[in-house]
Each structure stands twice: as structure tokens, then as C-alpha cells.
């Protein structure tokens, strides 16, 4: 008796706290295109390096309205799948100077499973920090003899969507130590720098004020496990670094460019804040 009453009190207290500022309580199980279901981890204990600033990490999915969240529960409703399909066509096309295709060297796209969960990462051979886009670019330019694809153009993002999908449901697990450490430190410094005439850092919005509303926008933790994301406002998919451009611009700052050293380091740091959440493949956000 006594215990039940206590439990209820504790529960309603926690609930009141949650109602004030927090992500919704919901779970994401996706109906895939071919009938399989994929469970997505949308909240997890914070990785050790965040122990001082938060206990739990949450996917941006939990901060969106019901209708937006629902679009991600079924691949038939997820507008991002269109881009994945386009990516698959491109994968199979003989677009190289010598008629090469991605499929010709890599077989099916499922050979890319796991890559999205561990990038950005430092390439063991070159020591360079590599995003998925950097790997794609290396093959496009060095192995297919083509000009670089526009970093935020259709081909690059369709391919990014296709490759990310192969890791859907896997836990984000980027390395932050060893060769990655200097990049990660640089990303961390950028994350806490108050840029622009509004003097705001990523942390000002996504750490200090997550869960609150900035005008009509419910501030999430700014995680990138869902990227690339189909954004309803843009009616298109965008990469993590494209999102960074928008957020930095909103501080009345001069932004960095996608694929700049700065944004690559920042992508590694932000990705590491989501270690333990699932890769969502192509998420849907408003």
C-alpha cells in the first residue's frame, strides 16, 4: 500500500517534470519497405564524455509533433525513401568514365552496412577525417574519373541516403580517441563557441535550452543520428552539415561551408553526442 502510493507520487513528479520541458514518451518501430520491422533506439544513457552535462540523450524525433513522427513509422509514408530509391538507381548506373558503377566494385549497397554508424572516422591509411560523403567523393573522383559531385547536390545526398539506410537500427558508435582525438577536440571547441552577432553556441540552444521553445520551435538536443533528414519545411533531404549551416546562419554569423575542416570536426563531435542512439537512415523532421 505504502509503496504504491510512493511510486505514484514519484511517477507523477517525474511526469510533471517531463511535461514542462521534455521530449514526448514514444517508441519508434519502423515498418520497412519489404515487410520487416526495425526498432529504433530514440533515447539512451548519455555517453561517458557527456556525463557532466546530461544523463540521457534523445533523438530529435521525440521533439516533433505527432504527425511528423508518424511519417517515420512506415517507409511508405516517409518521403525520404524517394531519395533512397534514386540513390539505388545511381548506385547501379554505369556512370564512370570507363563505364564503372558503384555496384560493379561493391556489389549491393548492403555491403555498406555499418559505415554510417561509425563515421566521421579517421581513415587508417591516410589519417584524414572521413565522412560518408568523403568516401563517396574519393570513389567518384579517383575510381570513376568524374568531377566531384556538388557536396549538397542531389547525387551526393541521394547516395548518402542510400548508404545511411544500410545502417538503419544500428547504434551510433563513432570513435573519439586515438587518431580521432584532435579532430574531436576541435569539434568540441566549435560546439561551445558563441558565434555571430547573437553570440550563441550550439550548446546555448541544444544543451542549455533543449526541451524549451524558441518561438514555435521545440529545441531538441541537435542530434544527427537521423541524418540525412527529410525536412518538411524544405521539401527535400539535407545532410548534417547543411543543417549546421542553417543553425550557424541563424546566429547572425558567417557560416562555415559543408566539407570544411571545421564542419567535419563538428560533425564528429555532434555524432559522438549521439553514441548509443540508432542510425535512423533517413529521418523525417519538420
Amino acid at each position: 500500500m505504502h509503496r504504491t502510493a510512493k511510486t505514484i507520487a514519484a511517477f507523477s513528479l517525474a511526469f510533471a517534470g517531463a511535461a514542462l520541458a521534455d521530449p514526448v514518451e514514444d517508441t519508434l518501430v519502423i515498418e520497412g519497405g519489404d515487410g520487416e520491422t526495425i526498432e529504433i533506439v530514440t533515447s539512451a544513457p548519455a555517453p561517458a564524455h557527456l556525463a557532466d552535462v546530461m544523463d540521457t540523450i534523445y533523438s530529435g524525433w521525440l521533439y516533433r509533433e505527432d504527425e511528423t513522427r508518424d511519417l517515420q513509422r512506415d517507409d511508405f509514408d516517409n518521403p525520404g525513401m524517394l531519395y533512397v530509391d534514386r540513390g539505388l538507381d545511381l548506385w547501379n548506373s554505369a556512370i564512370g568514365k570507363g563505364g564503372e558503377s558503384c555496384a560493379g566494385c561493391h556489389q549491393g549497397p548492403e555491403t555498406m552496412a555499418g559505415l554510417r554508424a561509425v563515421t566521421p572516422r579517421v581513415d587508417a591509411k591516410t589519417g584524414a577525417l572521413m565522412t560518408v560523403e568523403n568516401y563517396i567523393d574519393a570513389c567518384v573522383t579517383q575510381r570513376m574519373g568524374l568531377e566531384s559531385w556538388n557536396w549538397t547536390g542531389n547525387e551526393m545526398k541521394d547516395m548518402l541516403a542510400l548508404i545511411s539506410m544500410q545502417s538503419r537500427g544500428m547504434a551510433v558508435n563513432v570513435a573519439i580517441d586515438g587518431a580521432a582525438a584532435p579532430f574531436w577536440e576541435k569539434g568540441k571547441e566549435l560546439y561551445y563557441t558563441r558565434f555571430g552577432q547573437l553570440e550563441m553556441s550550439c550548446a546555448s540552444c541544444h544543451e542549455d535550452n533543449q526541451g524549451k521553445f524558441i518561438r514555435a520551435d521545440h529545441l531538441s538536443q541537435g542530434q544527427i543520428n537521423g541524418f540525412p533528414t527529410y525536412r518538411l519545411k524544405d521539401a527535400g533531404i539535407l545532410s548534417a552539415q547543411q543543417r549546421f549551416v542553417g543553425c550557424v546562419r541563424d546566429t547572425r554569423a558567417e557560416t562555415f561551408k559543408p566539407n570544411s575542416d571545421e564542419f567535419k570536426a563538428l560533425e564528429l563531435f555532434v555524432a559522438s553526442r549521439g553514441n548509443g542512439l540508432s542510425v535512423e537512415g533517413v529521418a523525417v523532421r519538420h
Binding site: E199, M200, R215, V245, V248, D250, A253, E254, T255
Partner: protein, 157 residues
Amino acid sequence: MTRQPCLVAALSLSLAVPALAETAPKDVIFDGGKVEASLTGAPGDPANGVKVMTTNALGNCVACHTIAALPDVQFPGDIAPPLDGVASRWSEAELRGIVANAKMTFDGSFMPAFYKTEGFIRPGGGYTGKAPEGDLPPILTGQQIEDVVAYLLTLKE
């Protein structure tokens, strides 16, 4: 007869260029967080203050603050304290200082400095994402700050 058009011309000239009389952002004198002197010498217009506070491209104070006296504002943010009764908590000089540069009152505040032009890291030209062309203007003009302060002074407990 000849004098009248001249007067009119002089008057409309002074109306068109109030900026000349404004204290430049770098010349504003802070006493702690307080700014005693008006930035323009002209009285503030509270109605225009409301416009500045609720327009995205201007002050957009409602991105962070709620104001019960302005129930028509859609989806105000809840990041910062409600501004109701603010004139009972702060003097005019304190409010002018908070709006001009809140960091002088609240160390490290999340609230942007609306009348400041120096000391930023990678400032952009407005919301273009590009470096500013020419000198960086403050987010609000001195007169807009005075208008906002005039409105805040009506928010008594």
C-alpha cells in the same frame, strides 16, 4: 511666406535622419548594467516598441519571452523570464542597459546584445550567413531601443 517651406524642409530632414543624433553603440556609457542617458534624446514610442519586440527581423524578444499583455503574439518562446511586471523590478536606466547589452547585467547571458557592434566571433551580415559588407550595424537602432524601453516601462506589476 518664404520662411515656411524652409521650416518644413528642415523639420522633415531632422525626422528622416534621427540616426545623426544617436549615441553610437561603442560610445554608450554603462554604469554597471545601467545606461542613464537616452540613446537619442528623443522620447520612445511604446507602440513602435511593441512592433520591434514582436517582429522576427527586428528584436524578436518573443522568441524567448512571454508577455501576458500581448496575447495576440503567436507561439512566444519560454526560454527567458516573462516580461510582465518588468518595470516594477527594473528602473528605466537598468532596462535600457539590459536591452542595449544584457551581458552587462547578466554575466554570460543567452540574451543577445541589441546595441553592440564589436567583439563578435565571425559576425554575419544579418541572416545571410555571409560576412557583412561594410560596418556591422547594431541589431536595433538607438531609437528602436528607446521605443522598446518605453514599452517595457508600461509593464508594471
